[in-house]
């Protein structure tokens, strides 16, 4: 491994006092970090801790305000992603930078040096992807691929540049446990070849499993550098959050109550070519329980949420029942008036209008269900600003929403705080049925724990709660019962205590066993 001459013994990359200011706000404040050749180095931190800003500077997407980057002993200025690639730095983004209308080979060709024919790129990509255990069909359109396969394109694209350092931003957040295992094998292979990996994650278990060293960030500063294998998950979490994170448990919820939300053989055809159709979904959520639906992104979660909330009503009334009443063809407001509450996945543009204030967003969601409280003036429906402001304050206090000013625009809140507000907006009504899609997606640990506790508490108080989530940690924390959705089909529902991660992983891959045969029997 001494092929690189004098620099082989020293660090591959050393970062000294790196700072990035946005206005007066320091996203990164005097960061020190060094990465040795042939190690997997974890970068830990909550949302907004400065992880993304740091790696964007390393990859030349952002320019540092001050500080230095030393690459193989030489101080460097990384002006653009292509400059980073030339140095030997590859990057796999969390939100993929792929072109859906193009083929795999075309996507890869775009980041390669010009003058290489598309056929040669396709051959090389195919060979490389197989040798690292990440098989890819270079002629497939990206639009037709799963999220896991899309990630492979990003990884293969980075590997084709023969990089010395690969940066991976939250790579497993979209993978099944089995797909993640496969990725870890690939990473170990890269490490064995003497390449370094900078692995960004907030999943402590993974970091302990594969990383040699870890650097922890909080509020733009380094708060710890350690060997993750010598730490406990709670000591790592303390470094990330700065205080102990409250543990959430579904204890005290039960499935003995009456059925409050039910889907009976719910099917829906795909609305767009890239959407998933729902196939014969049956589920029951009892008062007092949390039913959690696990699954990898893009397997029909959004479509199921739309059908249950009434955003896209079903074809017949009977397929969705709220409190024993058939509501399949009714719209979202009719279902809200029956005591149901809904929190969709996308915070901006779906659950909230970014440019409007929190109180306006509150009125938008609850102007029908809380007509008496929020609207006055009879048919005119004038907004009672003082009542709405009081409710906004009440929700903010109940959920500990941290914001600048009394009633700021929704877009000015951090992801975690806005999510607390939109979950709190529904909880404030004490709904008898609550359906939440990805309640803590991209939310930091403190806020996530608060939201999960609130969901469990709602169930304990006698409501039926349905949580759709990709996060297995979250599912095991909040669920009384668990089902798995895969390609628009729902597995059987199991008590949470009876399921292991491995079993869920198999269900995510669509291995239903007896369920499949029962379904075919039903169809005939």
């Amino acid at each position: 491994m001494s092929a690189d001459g004098q620099s082989a013994s020293g660090p591959l990359l050393a970062v000294g006092q790196l700072t990035k200011l946005f206005g007066t706000f320091a996203a990164c404040n005097g960061i020190d970090l060094d990465i040795k050749p042939g190690e997997i180095h974890a970068l830990l931190g909550e949302n907004g801790a400065g992880k993304s800003t740091l790696v964007k500077m390393l990859f030349g997407v952002l320019t540092p305000t001050s500080g230095e980057i030393v690459w193989q002993g030489q101080p460097v200025r990384i002006a653009s992603p292509s400059a980073a690639r030339k140095l030997g730095i590859g990057m796999v983004f969390q939100h993929f930078s792929l072109f859906e209308a193009l083929t795999v080979a075309e996507n890869i060709a775009l980041s390669m040096a010009p003058g290489i024919s598309l056929n040669r790129i396709a051959e090389e990509a195919s060979a490389l992807s197989h040798s690292y255990g990440l098989p890819l069909d270079p002629k497939a359109h990206v639009a037709d691929l799963s999220v896991g396969e899309r990630q492979r394109i990003e990884i293969v694209r980075a590997l084709l540049q023969n990089p010395k350092l690969i940066i991976l931003d939250e790579p497993t957040s979209v993978l099944t446990p089995q797909e993640a295992d496969r990725l870890f094998e690939t990473l170990n292979k890269l490490k064995a070849e003497g390449r370094s990996v900078l692995y960004i994650s907030h999943r402590l278990e993974e970091v302990q499993r594969i990383c040699d060293r870890a650097t922890v960030l909080r509020h733009g500063r380094v708060t710890g550098a350690c060997d993750p294998r010598k730490e406990t998950p709670s000591s790592l979490a303390r470094m990330m959050v700065g205080s102990d994170v409250a543990h959430v448990s579904a204890e005290g919820t039960s499935t003995k109550g009456a059925v409050k939300l039910e889907a009976r053989h719910l099917s829906a055809s795909a609305r767009t070519p890239f959407a998933v159709s729902l196939k014969n979904i049956c589920l029951k959520v009892h008062a007092g329980e949390v039913l959690a639906i696990a699954g990898v992104a893009g397997n029909g979660q959004g479509e199921l949420f739309d059908a249950l909330s009434g955003e896209y009503p079903a074809g017949s009334d009977d397929v969705v029942r709220i409190a024993e009443k058939p509501v399949g063809t009714r719209g979202i407001n009719a279902r809200r008036l029956m005591g149901a509450g809904f929190v969709p996945e996308e915070r901006h543009g779906h659950a909230a209008v970014s440019a409007l204030s929190l109180s306006d967003n509150l009125v938008l969601a609850r102007n029908q269900s809380d007509r008496r409280a929020f609207l006055g003036g009879g048919v005119l429906g004038l907004i009672r600003q003082d009542a709405v402001k009081r409710a906004t304050k009440r929700i903010s206090q109940a959920m500990d929403v941290r914001k600048s000013g009394e009633n700021p625009p929704a877009g000015s809140l951090s992801g975690g705080n806005l999510q607390k507000f939109i979950v709190g907006r529904e909880l404030d009504r004490q709904p008898t049925v609550l359906v939440v899609n990805q309640p803590t997606w991209g939310v930091d640990a403190g806020a996530a724990s608060r939201i999960r506790q609130a969901l469990v508490d709602l169930a304990k108080s006698g409501s039926a709660v349905l949580v759709i989530s990709q996060d297995l940690d979250e599912i095991f924390e909040v669920a009384t019962e668990i089902a798995v959705i895969s390609e628009g089909r729902l597995s059987d529902i199991y008590p949470a205590a009876e399921l292991s991660r491995e079993k869920i992983g198999l269900l995510m891959g669509g291995m239903y066993g007896k369920t499949e045969s029962a379904e075919t029997a039903h169809a005939h």
Binding site: S97, E100, A101, A143, P273
Partner: protein, 306 residues
Amino acid sequence: MGIFEAILLTVITAATPLVLAAVGELVTERSGVLNLGVEGMMVMGAACAFVATQMTGSPYVGILAGIASGALFSLLFGFLTLTLVANQVATGLALTILGLGVSGMIGEAYVGQSGIKLSQIVFPVLSDIPFLGSLLFKQDLIFYLSIAVVAGVHFFLFRSRAGLKLRSVGDNHASAHALGINVIRMRYLAVMFGGACAGLAGAQLSLVYTPQWVENMSAGRGWIALALVVFASWRPWRVVAGGYLFGAVSISQLHAQAFGIGIPSQFLSALPYLATIFVLILISHNRRTTLINTPASLGKPFVPDR
């Protein structure tokens, strides 16, 4: 020359400007820019080509003037929408209205003058092929150019690296920017190519179709060209098929009258637009192929942040 052959010749003449303007707009839209000003650029091309031909006596100078005026006019659109990030739809509509007005002013002194028709270029031997020879190899330069441009655009988009970059810009401009592609420059070039093609289409109108200048002589062909791009689901060769179909429909009104078929002429002149609507409804059913080809960033402004 048989009557059928004569009808086909007129169809070709009617279809050529549609194909040219549409294939230019196709490139513009593939880069993610929606330029609704095709009608305006086309009529500017027609006016400038006619005036330049009358001044110099050479229709080839007229062709160059048509191309240049269309490209320059589209540059105005590019500056407004790409540099100043104005709304593309509103700017495109404004461009059409402006083009109709300015072209009327430019051509005012030339109304009623008889122009010089662009001469035919006859390919020896090939033009002697029965039937096809006189249709395909005894045509004017602009016809040959229209086919060459379509073939070139197809090769460029789907075979060349630069074309791949252009499609990537139209599909996801943020990712393209992250890969180091200059999104704004790429779009400027695509917009100007679209303008040049629309200008050439306009030159065909005032130099071949009816060699004279009449105000508003583009007569809605720019709008048909826009519909044609969607009809072709952003694929160049389908523009040719659609262009000739629309050309045939618009010509059929003349021949129906000649044959004494009792259909009101207003209905026949409305036929191209009805066909457009019909085709738009038809293709919207096949959403999958449309979405694979539709530039996902179409009409979305790009502002790089750093």
